[in-house]
């Protein structure tokens, strides 16, 4: 009931959604030196409008084609949540149309965060310091993230009952009439030790202070124990002195050690 199940009571919204930050930290790639060995994208199997357009563009602007492929993971529109994304796997390998290439003059606005897109030039993509717009903090904040599924055991009969009445454990909604949903996690009991006042043991920001060391107990020793303790203290002092002041040359001079 103590700190070890701290996570257990963490409401799912407190857990960082999977993949947050993944797109911001780019894995760096360099284009292959041998153009012929590039595998997938060139012969696009599907004949959809976009892929043909892509192919056309890659022919027309052939110097930008190899450059865009490394940055595919970041240029992909990140708006749909991962879980619901049901796009065919082929799309991943096809570079999306480089939108900036068409009309570089008029600034375009991002669909997700409504901020102007920076003009895209092919040179930027290879620059390791360049961060695509999708990796900017403003954009990432606006992206709808997918959430991890609820921790509830799906085999529980209680869950089955609630599910038959339409409650989805992954919906991140509590029970109750729609629009007035209740809490999602039970209230956590907290045992307060002793009679510490409200706010005691917390600093000004409300964060817990490290616990005070317990007061040292006064021990009563009998003469034998006193003697033993004195000897122990002496030994310890000797050890410390050696550790700090021992000098090999002095030792050599004295003929000790070695």
């Amino acid at each position: 009931m103590a700190s070890e199940d701290e996570d257990y009571f963490l409401p799912p919204e407190g857990v960082r959604p999977f993949s947050s930050g993944v797109r911001r930290k780019r894995v760096q790639f360099v284009p292959s030196s041998n153009l012929d060995t590039t595998t997938a994208p060139a012969p696009a199997p599907s004949s959809s409008g976009t892929s043909i357009a892509d192919k056309y563009l890659s022919i027309v602007m052939n110097q930008s084609a190899p450059n865009t492929s490394p940055s595919t993971p970041t240029q992909r529109a990140p708006s749909p949540p991962i879980r619901t994304q049901s796009a065919p796997p082929t799309q991943d390998t096809i570079p999306p149309p480089p939108s900036a290439a068409t009309t570089p003059a008029a600034p375009e606005y991002c669909d997700v965060c409504n901020l102007p897109l920076p003009p895209q030039s092919s040179a930027d993509a290879t620059d390791p310091k360049h961060r695509p717009h999708e990796a900017s903090l403003a954009h990432q904040i606006c992206v709808a993230h997918s959430h991890p599924p609820s921790h509830l055991d799906r085999t529980r009969p209680g869950l089955r009952y609630l599910s038959t009445y339409g409650w989805d454990p992954d919906s991140r909604l509590g029970l109750g009439a729609s629009g007035r949903e209740g809490i999602r996690e039970p209230i956590r009991p907290r045992v307060r030790p002793g009679t510490a006042g409200l706010g005691a043991g917390l600093d000004e920001d409300g964060d817990p202070l490290p616990p005070r060391p317990p007061p040292v107990k006064v021990q009563k020793l009998n003469p034998k124990e006193v003697r033993k303790k004195a000897a122990e203290d002496r030994r310890r002092a000797e050890r410390i002195r050696k550790a700090f002041y021992q000098n090999d040359e002095v030792l050599k001079y004295l003929g000790e050690g070695v």
Partner: protein, 756 residues
Amino acid sequence: MSGNRSDSEGGARAKRQKTDGGDPKNNPYLAHMYENDNGSDNGALAKFKRHQTTSAMARKAEDGDINPFSGRPFSSKYFSILKTRRDLPVHTQRDEFLQLYQQSQILVFVGETGSGKTTQIPQFVLYDDLPQTQGKMVACTQPRRVAAMSVAQRVAAEMDVKLGEEVGYSIRFEDMTGPKTIMKYMTDGMLLREAMNDPNLTRYSTIMLDEAHERTMATDILMGLLKEVVVRRPDLKIIIMSATLDAQKFQRYFMDAPLLAVPGRTHPVEIFYTPEPEQDYVEAAVRTVLQIHATEAEGDILLFLTGEEEIEDASRKIALEADEMVREVDAGPLKVYPLYGSLPPHMQQRIFDPAPPPRRPGGRPGRKVIVSTNIAETSLTIDGIVYVVDPGFSKQKIYNPRIRVESLLVSPISKASAQQRAGRAGRTRPGKCFRLYTEGAFKKELIESTYPEILRSNLSSTVLELKKLGVDDLVHFDLMDPPAPETLMRALEELNYLACLDDDGNLTQLGRLASDFPLDPALAVMLISSPEFYCSNEILSITALLSVPQVFVRPAAQRKRADEMKNLFAHPDGDHLTMLNVYHAYRGSDAQANPKQWCHDHFLSQRALQSADNVRSQLLRIMERQDLEMVSTPFEDKKYYENIRRALCAGFFMQVAKKDTGGKSQYLTIKDNQNVLLHPSTVLAHEAEWVLYNEFVLTTKNYIRTVTAVKPEWLLDIAPTYYDISSFPKGDIRSALTRAADRLAHREKIRAEKRR
């Protein structure tokens, strides 16, 4: 005019006759014989039209000579009470109230404690709703039994009728109403139970939910139900009465019902905080009280602490220190009164004693200090309080569905609570409130308002009630604060294990039966299955004893003596059986000769035993109604106690712990795997391998209280689905259960061979 006026209202009359059961007074031809005490709907109320009256009309009726409800002349005491009643704040807004009441089906009424809402509003309603003409009643719910009783008593006096006739009350295990009753005070739990058998609450024309701000479980469920009932019954009127300012929440919940607020008579309260957090709030509270006594002007002090032990301890300290102050610095006398729920009523009454006078004429004035739990926060009004000391804590029940433990924990109060506490200082004149925490802590540490009970409780009995009420869709049931899904899931699963719900979540026959008992489902199931174990008499007694406060008294000064006395009754196999021994002894002729003395000598609470007796007879009535057999194993039979222990398993098989192989006297709860210790109060003589417990006490150490030794074979036999060995992880508990199952099978085999 005479009583036969109501004859014109044919349908309603017929209903009324049914309740009156052919009383000759209702016979119009005999009306002349009852000239002076004829039926209840005549005289001053004759010209009243339902829902069209005004305060002036009611005032005239109230000022008349004849009581319009009982037909008897008003007594002189009535008029003296009437005068004080008219001074209450709610009276100034009677017309306003009536208008809103007449216009709207649901009304939210806000009045601070002391505005007179609990006693006056129901009477305003009576004069306008005239339930007697409809053969119906007006109900007013209270969260606490004591409040329902005392308010009913007060209102009966105000209306100059006998308690139990026109005005009555109904609480669990006690019904004080009669056929004439038109005004019924009741606990919210009672109204909920009535709804189980009468889903439309047809007996009532108006229902008032008082103290709704306390948000008890029953009030919350009732609000959800009433929201549905008002649609089905357009003639039913609802008044939600609350003492605090979050009334908008009620308004929003009830489809923007109109709101009427009556200001209380309050004075400004100055609030003080400590500059630094206190290391020990009890000590700081004691010091603050003494400081106030030494430096502040006349006026009584109210100190809020959390529990009985803490309160008694602080009271003692304050009294000691105050005596010293009197001797040394000639301070005024200081009287200390503790106040908590389990205190006997006559001790509770003492808080209303006036403060002590100065020790000599012209000396420094005396003062009283009331050291109380949060019952003095809303439910009790004590005049004369000028200083409030608030450490910011109260004991709160909290339920953790993950380990199925309900515990009382000292927790920080809410901002709303803190304001309420401060308000107690301004009842008679401007006051001061000393908060033993920093202003920063008030803003950051305290939640806005206290969590309603429904979020903090085990819901198994609530779910059973809802199922009985026909609410199957627990997901979309419109509660003001729906509970956490996990808590509800846990309740459904517990009820399933108890066989109150089948695997599809439908109410079973057993569940329907169990819902008739005003008990926890586990207790109800235990009671219902007890005839199978030939011990329903004994289990009934144990159930009654578990439903009342602790029977053993252990005063701090005489602990040793009390423990010796308890050992007289001890049964080596556990506390349940010990309690049963106590009850049997109490019912014996020795004890009944002078029960008060006997209880005192044996350190037992006579109050608890008496109420256990009362609860037992009430439950007995339900059992007889359900055709449950009352049987006992003969006492000489060596299976007498074993049968009882088996029957206990039938209800409490989910509350079992097994001794841990590692630590000494360490136990591990089954399935939830919590490390627990036996509570030091147990009488269990031997180190039992398996114990069943009634209560899990969560403190810095975990204790199980009221334990009885059981055998794993019984558990496997009685609750095979819960003790399905394959569902247990490999380990000590699983192997112990497997061994027990083998023993069972072996015994079965031998028995089968013998039979051949």
